[in-house]
Amino acid sequence: MKQSQHKDHAALAQDFIKDDEHVNWHDGALWYIREKRDIASKQIPEWEALREAASQIKSNVISNLHEYLLQFEANLLNNGVKVYWAADAEEHNAIVYSILKAKDIRQMVKSKSMLTEECHLNEYLIERGIDVINSDLGEYIQQIDNEPPSHIVLPCIHKRKEEIGELFHEHLGTEKGLSDPTLLTRVARKHLRNIFITRRAALTGVNFAVAETGEYVVCTNEGNADMGAHLSEVQIASMGLEKIIPQKKHLAVFLRLLARSATGQPITIYSSHYKKPREGQEMHLILVDAGRTRQLGRADFRDSLKCIKCGACMNTCPVYRKSGGLSYHNTISGPIGAILAPNLDMKKHADLPFASTLCGSCSNVCPVKINIHEQLYKWRQVIVKEGYAANTKALGMKAMAWTLSSPGNFTTAGKTGRWFLQNIPFVVKNKFNPWYKQRDMPEGPKESFADWYAKNEENNNKE
């Protein structure tokens, strides 16, 4: 897998921004989806009430997770599904491997699952001689390119069709220069069709797990999860603990919100319910913690577990649109990734809560009303207190360069700040001040407001 771990978000974003035309295209493509989401959400008069309902249902879920999980497990077992509990990625991957090994299966097809990306399942299985093919077109393209997804809903949104054409030419033998999306999709479809038919095992993610019935729902636009599951003799589903909803009727809230928030569609093309194995088929479901219960224990951040992975916060985030998902160096990128990632590895992801202007657009589009931008602010406080501030690109030093001109002490530092600006221009006009690289500093006026007021107004007031 291509690695980008050594650079922080700011540095990776800087690399991404070098190609101005590409950034503009990326920004425009995601803004287009944000606009589609706006149109779709504004066609439903009760949209804001739906968001509130979804948020409250999820509040109930994360407050009673223990009971719902046990209820879900009992119903799964009743339905003839085998259930596994995995504390972390390693346990999850080992369970998948053991299921495949027991049936002597060496090839598996996998639909989109950010959890298995998070667990690095593909690498784990491939190291053990098991061939895994991602069947979601975007994830398939990313797999061919040996690169992680840059977006949870649109895994290869950062690639232009010409780049994809080049990849297909190299890996699938298409004609050089072919970049027509329809033709490229047909080639992938033909290639994947053969994989679907020959694979005995299929793994899917889970969008919603219904505690009351033990069924789970997988939403796709391509039908790839269904194709894999229907043709498999071993069907595996991996889900994070937080994917539970209490009752089937709650799908009426979440399915209406999910696709509209994600892509502006009224509903995903396929919303497939899986409950019982077919005759001769095995169904396995793995419940994965991997840090989720730790996040549940963080009062300020537990609401992040409400996330239904629609990606709306990424599409609306101007920082995401200008810096690309891979600059977040975490499976889940964008604003939601930036509040989930520090829980997984605070040191490694200390930069992410700072990769935001706290503009708050993310919280406004979130279909489950997670207060994302407030959590970003709170993570900053935690990260500084835990001593990881140094990690955020010498934040202290650079913020100091900025705050020097924002006087802490009005009567001394204030005047000093202006004096610096007016009299020693090299202090600001040098290459070490990032402000000045592409921006001018405001011209310091001769007199501050306070000085002017003392001279003019205070005397007037006394008179």
Partner: protein, 243 residues
Amino acid sequence: MTVGLFIPCYVNQFYPGAAKATLQLLKKLRVDVAYPPNQTCCGQPMANAGFEHLTSGCNRLFIDHFSRFDYIVAPSASCVLHVKDHLHDANEEQATAIRTKLYELVEFLTDILKVEKLEAVFPHRVGIHHSCHGLRGLHLAQMSELNAPPFSKPQHLLHMVKGLEQVTLDRADECCGFGGSFCITEEAVSVKMGKDRVTDHTKNGAEFITSSDLSCLMHLEGILHRNKSSVKIVHIAEILNAT
């Protein structure tokens, strides 16, 4: 009614014109307004960088300077929001009083003074830059993300200004990328966001970009100036006070 004028540190230093316009405008509207000397920073630069625990001194000073007024008004949505969201003190009763009676200038004009008429003249094409803290924090206007009825307090006021033509933008309320310390630590993204905002205003014919936040405007001005643009920034108080 007594009003304490809160002028954020960087406005005091770099944009005294906006502070004077705020003072003069309030006086024109017959408000009994005073500027407590020796006021300091609201603490936001530290807090947004993760150092909120270092802001208790700022908070205490803020309370000392402004407790005596009926209202506190500032020409900066961002600083106002910070104080409203994060000012706490050992004397929490005093802190709560401060948070409750603090207003950004535009909302003070529309919500408290209920201004319906101004004598201002500003014969120019003007683009409104909604600061995120003003928009999504203080709700100075409806947010484009929500399915909710539109309104705009700054637009309402600017409609009263003779000769002013408001410019329609492609993206009504996108962040400019200033973001406090973000503008330094994420310089590349910050500048790219700022350039794109500037382009939206210029291509739609704005001569001036106005806002209730000079921090956004300082960032946009830095980009405009570097690129030798003829488009200027102006704080909304300066327009509402213009004759």
